[in-house]
Each structure stands twice: as C-alpha cells, then as structure tokens.
C-alpha cells in the first residue's frame, strides 16, 4: 500500500486538470498575444481562469496577475513595493518563521538598505498583535505574514492583524503568503484587509510553475520582470496558458463544497493526531487540532532521527517530510522550528504529515500501523 502524506510539498494533479492542460498544448496551443484565431482561442483560457479566481477571491479581475509560482509572487510583492515606495518608506516587517520565499527576500532588501523587522511568534507559531503594533512604523512600506505556516500549520487571524497594522499606519501594505492556506480557507482580500496575496497552483492539485499575486488596485508597485509588456506591463513573459488554465480548474474544483472537504480533513487530522499520541513519546507542534490548519500535522518522535524515520516510512510506501534538513555535517533547524523555540531534541525528531482532500482514512490507518511497528526498532538503535 502507498500513503502520500506530503501534500504540503506538492500534490497529485487532478486528472481533469491534466486533460485540460493537454488540450491547451495539443489543440489550443496559440500565444494569447497573437492577433490570429489561434491567439484568440488561447486568450479565452486566460480570461476564463481570471474570472474563476475573481469569483473565488471576490475581487475585480484586473487585480489578478499570474506568476511562475508562490516564490515569484512573494518576491514581487516585497521587492515591487519596496522599490516603488522607497521615497516615502524604508521599512518592512516579516515574521521570524517565514518561508525562505519571504525570509530570503527580506535579507536581500536589508542588504539594499531597507530596515527589516523580524517579528517573533509564540510557541504555537502565532503573531502577538501587540508586538505587531509596536513593529509598524511611520515608514513601514509593507508587512508580510504567512496565513498558514508550511511546517507546523499555525494559522494567523489575518483580518484581525490587518486591522492592527492599518490602525497604526493606514499607508502600510498588508501582504499575505497564502500558499498553504488557499484551497483550505475561504479568503476574501477586500473583507480581510489584504492588499497583496500570494497563491501557488501545485499545492491544490494544479501544475507546478504557476501561481498568482493578487494586487489591490491602490497598491503602488513596480514590476520585477520586464519584457514584452504582457499583463498590462506588470509581469512580462508569454502567458503560461496550460499552467494558468490548469491552475484555475484545480482551484474551481477545490473550492466546490470546500466546507465539507475541510471537515473531512479535520476528522482525518484528528484521527492521525490521536493515533500518534497513543504511540507514546510523541510531541505535536503548533496549535490545537481544530485551531490549526486542517491538513498539517507536525510531530516529533522523541529519540528517533527524522531522516531515519522518513526513509523507514518511504521503504513502506509512506511519504512524509522531515522537519529539518539534517546530517552529521549540517544540522540546521528550520526558521519555523527556531521561531517557535522547539528544543533540539524535538526538531531533529520532527516529521511533517500533510493531508489533502484526496487523502483517505486507509492511508492514515496504514501510516499509524506502520509507525507502531517500526518505532520500537528505531528507538532501540540510536547513537549513544
């Protein structure tokens, strides 16, 4: 049996999405910028996709821009606003547990002369609104926050935090990295006070290499990719028709009956967490089951190195990811593990299980039974 429990790394593409993409490559393969029929046909896919996203997010179509994925969206939101507003501002705020797609950009901007504040989070991975308020200054250009943390599934109350930011400085932009949240939560930027929102396709059964950045019309931002002037000159490059069409269909399918799917994921998550705790000597990182994201469980198996557990499970057809990249030569805890101040003995024993709407109860049962079988052996052979 196989149990793919690494859906936060990437997901299997829906077959309907694959079929649609094949059609855009084999039949309607035109370049939307071409003036002839082939171009017009291809353009329809983009228009259709944009309509879909506008409906899901409840935003005007003109505020949606396609990118090569979550990383580009994050880069653009931060670098684009920093560059466009450097006359009036010089400061950006990120959290200490950002994904490198934000964290490394903040490091880059710091080298370019911008001031950067890295907000601490608590042990559950949550931002303290009071500390956030203190961090926002008169010259703060943008605050970037992660809706759902990719490692431990911590969720932020974005609407509330946005109010805090805007209350302190109404000119500060709110950027939200929703790469792990989109497809799990209804997200409405206008109601939640989000000025920019990063989304990636391959986390919700769409293809890799495509994502989007929602940008509120009033945001002052410059492009970071220049060229043929596609997407109103804001993001040049031939439109990725197969990717965008596939991405939109995947989003549409994901958001159909979302509440029912999410409830099912929470039930599976609960089952997994209960089963893990019953194994003994297991620590679950982050928030309580129903408060955290429905699809991420981060567990530390005390006394077992995560990499070894990962390979043991892989041998039995179970795919998970290790909490930290580790080897004897390089044992660096991830930014998230450092931010939540997890002790070393837990970080090096941490494995992430991530579910999707395609995850089955059998997969969870199988995973738990294999863990019950292999853990005693793994705990017996350790470095002394």
């Amino acid at each position: 049996m196989e149990a793919y429990l690494d859906n936060s790394a990437t997901t299997r593409v829906f077959p309907e999405v694959v079929n649609l993409m094949v059609k855009t490559m084999s039949e309607d393969y035109g370049n939307p910028s071409s003036m002839h029929t082939k171009g017009v046909e291809a353009e329809q896919y983009i228009k259709e996709a944009t309509k879909t996203f506008a409906q899901i997010l409840k935003v005007p179509e003109k505020e949606i821009y396609y990118t090569s994925g979550g990383t580009e969206s994050d880069n653009w939101a931060l670098i684009g606003t920093a560059m466009a507003n450097r006359r009036t501002g010089n400061h950006i705020v990120v959290t200490a547990m950002e994904h490198p797609a934000v964290g490394a950009v903040a490091d880059f901007l710091e080298k370019q002369g911008f001031a950067v504040t890295r907000l601490p989070v608590n042990e559950q991975g949550q931002i303290d609104p009071e500390k956030l308020r203190e961090s926002v200054r008169e010259d703060t250009i943008v605050v970037s926050m992660m809706y759902v943390n990719n490692e431990i599934g911590a969720v932020q109350d974005i609407a509330e935090l946005s109010k805090v930011i805007k209350g302190k400085n109404p000119h500060t932009y709110v950027h939200v990295d929703a790469i792990q949240a989109f497809g799990k939560y209804p997200i409405y930027p206008k109601r939640m006070g989000i000025d920019m929102l990063s989304i990636s396709s391959h986390k919700l059964h769409g293809p890799k290499g495509v994502g989007l950045l929602y940008i509120d019309e009033k945001v002052k931002i410059v492009p970071i990719i220049y060229g043929g002037g596609q997407q109103k000159g804001m993001r040049s490059g031939t439109d990725n028709v197969p990717g965008i069409a596939g991405f939109a269909l995947a989003a549409k399918m994901t958001y159909a009956d979302l509440d029912i799917k999410v409830e099912r994921m929470y039930q599976l998550k609960q089952k997994l967490v209960d089963g893990l705790l019953a194994l003994g000597d297991v620590h679950i990182h982050g928030m309580a089951v129903r408060e955290g994201a429905p699809h991420i469980v981060s567990a530390a198996f005390v006394g077992v190195r995560s990499e070894v557990l990962l390979h043991t499970l892989e041998d039995r057809g179970i795919y998970v990811s290790a909490g930290s990249a580790c080897s004897t030569h390089k044992r660096n805890a991830s930014p998230t593990m450092q931010a939540i101040q997890a002790p070393k003995q837990l970080t090096e024993a941490t494995v992430r299980f991530s579910l999707a709407e395609t995850t089955t109860e059998e997969e969870i049962d199988y995973c738990l039974s294999v863990l019950g079988e292999v853990l005693p052996m793994l705990r017996r052979y350790t470095r002394r």
Binding site: L310, H311, T312, A325, S327, T328, H329
Partner: protein
C-alpha cells in the same frame, strides 16, 4: 589555428619490449576518451610519437580538457600543420605563428628544427638560424636565448611540417589497463575518490564497493556515490560499482559488541566483504582513502587492526597526506563539490561519542566472538545480494 596535437608520454618509453603494449593502451584510451568530445579525430602512432588530428570541426577547449584526463599523457602540444611550399612560405607561416601566439612579443626564444625528411634542401642548423633571424627581423621585440629560452619553437620537417611551442601538462601516470585490477572502497567522502584516482593513474583498472545502510543512509547518499563513481570513471574508465546492503550487519554488531568498538569492528567486516567481492571480480588488491590520524578509526593502531583481516594488499595512496592536500586533488579532479554534499554515510550513523582510538586486537577478536552465531551467513548474504551498477562516463 590548431587542428592537431602531439601527445608526449614519458614512462612508457622506458618499458623496453613492452613499449608497444603501453603505447597501444594509451592510443585506445585516447580514442575512447575523445568519443565524448564533439568532432571526429584520427589518432596515429608515427616514429615513436602519438598524434591526434581533428578530421572534422571540433572544440579546442573541450578536446584539451578530455586529453587531460588520459593517464599516461605527460604533455599535450597543440601543433600547426603546414604543407611544404618552399622556404619562403615556411618562414612567413612561422613568423605569423609567433605573432599570433605571443602578441606581446617581449620574450626570449629559440628555434629547434628536426629534419626527419633528409631530402629537404636546407639542414637543421641552417633552417633554425634562418627562421630565427626572420622572426627577429619581423618583430625586433623578441630576443634570442639559446640556453634558457622562454619559448622553445619546434619545427619538424616530415612529409608535412609541424610547428609547435606550447606544452599543456597532462595527468602523467600510466595508460589504463596496463597494471591489473583493484577494488576501491568508495564512501562518498572526499578521500576515497582521490585514492581511486591515484591508483587508476598508475594504469590500474578499478571497481568500487559502497556500503549502503537504509534507512539510516538515504537514496540520495547512494546516488551521490554513483555520481562520484562517474566522476572518477572519466579518468579510470568504465567500472562496476557494487552496492552492499550493510544495515543488518551493522545492527547485529550494535546489539552484540561494545559500543566504542562498533566502528572498528564494522570496518573489519567491510574489508572482508570488499575482499570477497574483489576475489569474485578478479581484482587482486584493495584501495582505501584512509589517512593516518584523520579520525579515530584511522589511527595507526586502528589501521593495523583493520588491516589484519585482509589477505590482499591494501593500497592507501593518501595515507601520508594532510586533509588539504587531499582536498586539492579532489578539486583538481572535480569530485570535491559532490563529496561535500551533506548526506550521512554508514560510518557515522551510530558512531560512539568516544570510540576507541587504540584498539587492542585481542580484545576486538574477543568482541567479535559474540557475532559467531550469524556473522558468516550474514557476510555471505551481503556479498550475494550486492547490487551492481555499471558506470561508464
């Protein structure tokens, strides 16, 4: 400007009656190596020299880089090949050559002529003198130094005329396949690929054995060793990489022996397995990347205890090298970047905090008695189930 290379080789020259065997091995290896380079080449032996000539368009840099991986080559001389159209034309071409090769000119030179075709109207001395003065007439910034010239311009009169002055150093050593076969213990670290390179350099064909310990070592660690074997094989030629599953033996030792002796006992069994595979594959020696004192298992006492299980000679070409000296070679042969990828190898997964550094052979043997029940069967199993990856770059 160059379409031809004169290949210099040294040690082969002293091998007496076996000389042609060595030359043929060298030519075979040059041909094999040039197959991975763009273009077609003819490789010929003519009066004790090897010439590589491009017969189609080719990439100069790529070709030189490939020739630099052929053991046995001491120097690679890019040659300009001229037709014999009389002295006037030769003089013009040679002056032109000097201009193109040395645009700054401010150097000393000497012309050396070899006249293999004796019916050429001028003799060697005369030719050298005339060409030298023509060069000086054209470019007075050059100057002549017959004792220690910076440029030694060689002109060889054969059916055609060969002109060259540069020698690009080759790797040296002996042509592959002229010195038997040995089995390399390849770990994934920096030292063992270097050790394999050094022994292959002496003309020895090598195979390799890697000890894999899933789930404690990952698929990526194994892939890294395959990648390293490929890098080494650019020099050493095709090799068979034997991947031994070592997990059960390691855990058995863990269960039955004192923890601080785990590494040393483990290495003794690795040597035994490697030797058994070597025997099956027709190899007559083992190669390791051990270097005295580098880690606890490489103290002189540890090496002695490890060595004790071997009946074949064990070559340890980096035994007296400092780490930096080994790294320098790894950088030169391009294995370093791959070696430092951070994947765990099976020697470190259970390593004790304080392993023995001065193991006592009698004590180790006593500990190994605890393994008597199953170890022979496990060793046989490890040898029999080893996976073979054919490496050919």
């Amino acid at each position: 400007m160059f379409r031809m290379f004169l290949i210099k080789y040294a040690e082969i020259g002293v091998k007496g009656k076996n000389r042609y065997l060595f030359e043929d091995a060298l030519i075979a290896q040059i041909k094999r190596t040039l197959r991975r380079v763009e273009g077609r080449f003819s490789v010929t032996k003519e009066s004790g020299r090897i010439y590589v000539e491009a017969v189609t368009e080719f990439d100069y840099d790529e070709t030189v880089a490939a020739l630099k991986t052929v053991f046995g080559i001491v120097g690679i001389c890019p040659v300009v090949l001229l037709q014999d159209n009389g002295y006037e034309q030769l003089s013009k071409d040679v002056v032109d050559y000097m201009d193109k090769m040395y645009p700054d000119k401010k150097r000393t030179f000497k012309v050396q002529v070899r006249r293999a075709r004796k019916n050429y109207p001028m003799d060697s001395m005369e030719l050298a003198r005339e060409l030298g003065s023509d060069i000086l007439d054209a470019y007075p910034e050059f100057s002549v130094d017959v004792h220690h010239p910076q440029i030694l311009l060689q002109v060889e009169i054969r059916q055609n005329i060969y002109v060259y002055s540069e020698i690009i150093p080759g790797p040296g050593g002996m042509p592959l396949g002229t010195n038997g076969k040995a089995m390399l213990l390849l770990s994934g670290g920096i030292d063992s690929p270097v050790a394999g390179y050094m022994i292959a350099k002496r003309g020895v064909v090598i195979d390799a054995v890697y000890f894999h310990a899933p789930p404690y070592t990952s698929e990526r660690a194994k892939q890294k060793v395959v990648d390293l074997a490929k890098l080494v094989s650019r020099y050493s030629g095709p090799m068979r990489l034997h991947i031994v599953n070592f997990t059960d033996i390691q855990l058995y030792i863990y269960d039955k022996c004192p923890h601080d002796e785990l590494t040393i006992i483990m290495r003794r069994y690795m040597m035994k397995i490697a030797e058994e595979i070597a025997r099956k594959e027709g190899a007559v020696a083992l190669i390791t990347g051990e270097s005295i004192g580098q880690v606890a298992s490489q103290t002189v006492q540890s090496l002695t205890v490890t060595n004790e299980v071997c009946t074949m000679p064990v070559f340890r070409p980096v035994i007296g090298f400092d780490k930096q000296e080994i790294v320098d070679i790894a950088l030169k042969i391009d294995t370093y970047e791959t070696s430092i990828q951070p994947y765990e190898d099976c020697c470190t997964i259970f390593v004790a905090k304080h392993p023995v550094t001065k193991p006592n052979l009698q004590a180790i043997r006593r500990s190994e008695e605890n393994l008597a029940e199953k170890i022979d069967e496990m060793l046989k199993e490890a040898v029999d189930t080893a996976e073979v990856v054919e490496i050919d770059e």
